[in-house]
């Protein structure tokens, strides 16, 4: 199976606020790239002398090794002027880029990996929720996901039932919409943008657009880094390293439906860079 479908996708490669003329050496799907600013001060990505297409969005620079058919997805909710936009920074993880996204879509691990923050052992039950592939946008959506959380966000005072919606608009990106305690009726937006360095190594760029009048930006960054880094030791210790597209050696249940929908969508589109096709 070829990697062409993934090569034609958009990937985050740096924070717009961190680009320099000197450039930063990085990697995309096994190829060396340099990410920085060109002579005119415009963002630029070079791959062995070839200039790659770029998009500036959500505080990050995006690029592609191939020829993307579609524009990079949008997040209309994030345009609200009263939202605080938070560049969380980068964390490198020794795992498949697809595993990093799959973990982000999972709520059942909250009581054990994010204990007393996003979940607690006394409330581990995952109620049924709805998962679909939205045909027009060609995106995976999980909705009506509910979970008990002791401290849902930096600004949350106590335990609440939090409602989530998960969206996968690109093979290594996920957008999470989550109950916003200070603004009933609105959703906090928390994104996981993953840069595939190789099939078993990735850079993760979390990004958020929140309603939060009480926390400092630094508090918000720390909270998100706290959560994401609790996952890192899990991601680096799953066997096999690549994400299995055949669950023959796994036991998904109804609680894993978002994971299964994501893997199905990857399989349908040949987004197989970082995936294991046959179980072993």
């Amino acid at each position: 199976m070829s990697d062409q479908a993934m090569r034609d996708a958009w990937f985050p490669v740096g924070l717009l606020s961190g680009l320099t003329r000197a450039g930063t050496a990085s990697m995309l799907m096994g190829e060396d790239i340099t990410v920085g600013l060109d002579d005119t001060g415009a963002p630029s990505v070079d791959c062995g002398g070839r200039k790659l297409p770029t998009v500036e969005r959500f505080g990050h620079l995006w690029t592609s090794l191939g020829a993307p058919e579609k524009d990079l997805f949008t997040i209309p909710e994030a345009d609200h002027p009263e939202r605080t936009l938070v560049d969380v920074g980068v964390v490198r993880v020794k795992c498949s880029p697809l595993r990093a996204v799959e973990n982000f879509l999972d709520i059942a691990h909250f009581p054990f990996v994010h204990t007393d923050i996003l979940g607690e052992e006394d409330h581990p039950e995952v109620n049924n929720y709805k998962v679909e592939v939205r045909k027009d946008e060609d995106e995976v959506w999980a909705t009506k996901v509910e979970f008990y959380q002791p401290q849902a966000a930096a600004s949350a005072g106590g335990g609440i039932i939090t409602e989530y919606m998960y969206r996968v608009p690109a093979p290594t990106c996920s957008v999470l919409y989550k109950t916003c305690p200070p603004r009933p009726g609105e959703w906090d937006v928390i994104c996981l943008f993953v840069q595939p360095l190789t099939e078993e190594l990735c850079d993760v760029w979390p990004w958020m657009a929140l309603f939060d009048d009480t926390s400092t930006i630094t508090d918000l960054i720390h909270f998100q880094q706290l959560i994401f880094l609790q996952d890192r030791s899990i991601l680096e210790n799953q066997i096999p390293k690549k994400l299995p597209l055949d669950p023959a050696l796994e036991t998904p249940t109804r609680a894993d439906l978002t994971s299964v929908a994501y893997r199905r969508w990857l399989k349908r589109h040949d987004y197989t860079y970082g995936a294991q096709l046959v179980a072993e």
């Binding site: 669950p247 036991t251 998904p252 894993d256 439906l257 199905r264 399989k267 349908r268 046959v278 179980a279």
Partner: protein
């Protein structure tokens, strides 16, 4: 006479998609066995496979979820569950 837990259900699962690979039926049976379920009254065509299983609702759901993904050489379009006549 054996007694079964109250939560036990008997269901017919109908899988639709491109299921022509010879690996698919053994895969379904292995995955069922992994969940402690046994496939009965199996009917298989290239685009549709259906069978009955009896067991706890959440295990039958887990079988449905596993089959949705299936092995790499088949594409499962949908899996539907319907009540099946009780065996007893």
């Amino acid at each position: 006479m054996t007694t079964t837990p109250l939560s036990n259900r008997r269901r017919r699962l109908t899988i639709q998609g491109n299921l022509a690979s010879p690996s698919f039926l053994p895969w379904v049976e292995r995955h069922s066995a992994r969940l402690g379920l046994f496939c009965e009254n199996l009917q298989a065509e290239e685009t549709q496979v259906s069978f009955e299983v009896e067991g706890q609702e959440e295990l039958i759901d887990a079988l449905e979820v596993g089959c949705l993904l299936g092995p790499i050489d088949v594409w499962v379009e949908s899996v539907e569950q319907h009540p099946a006549p009780s065996a007893s």
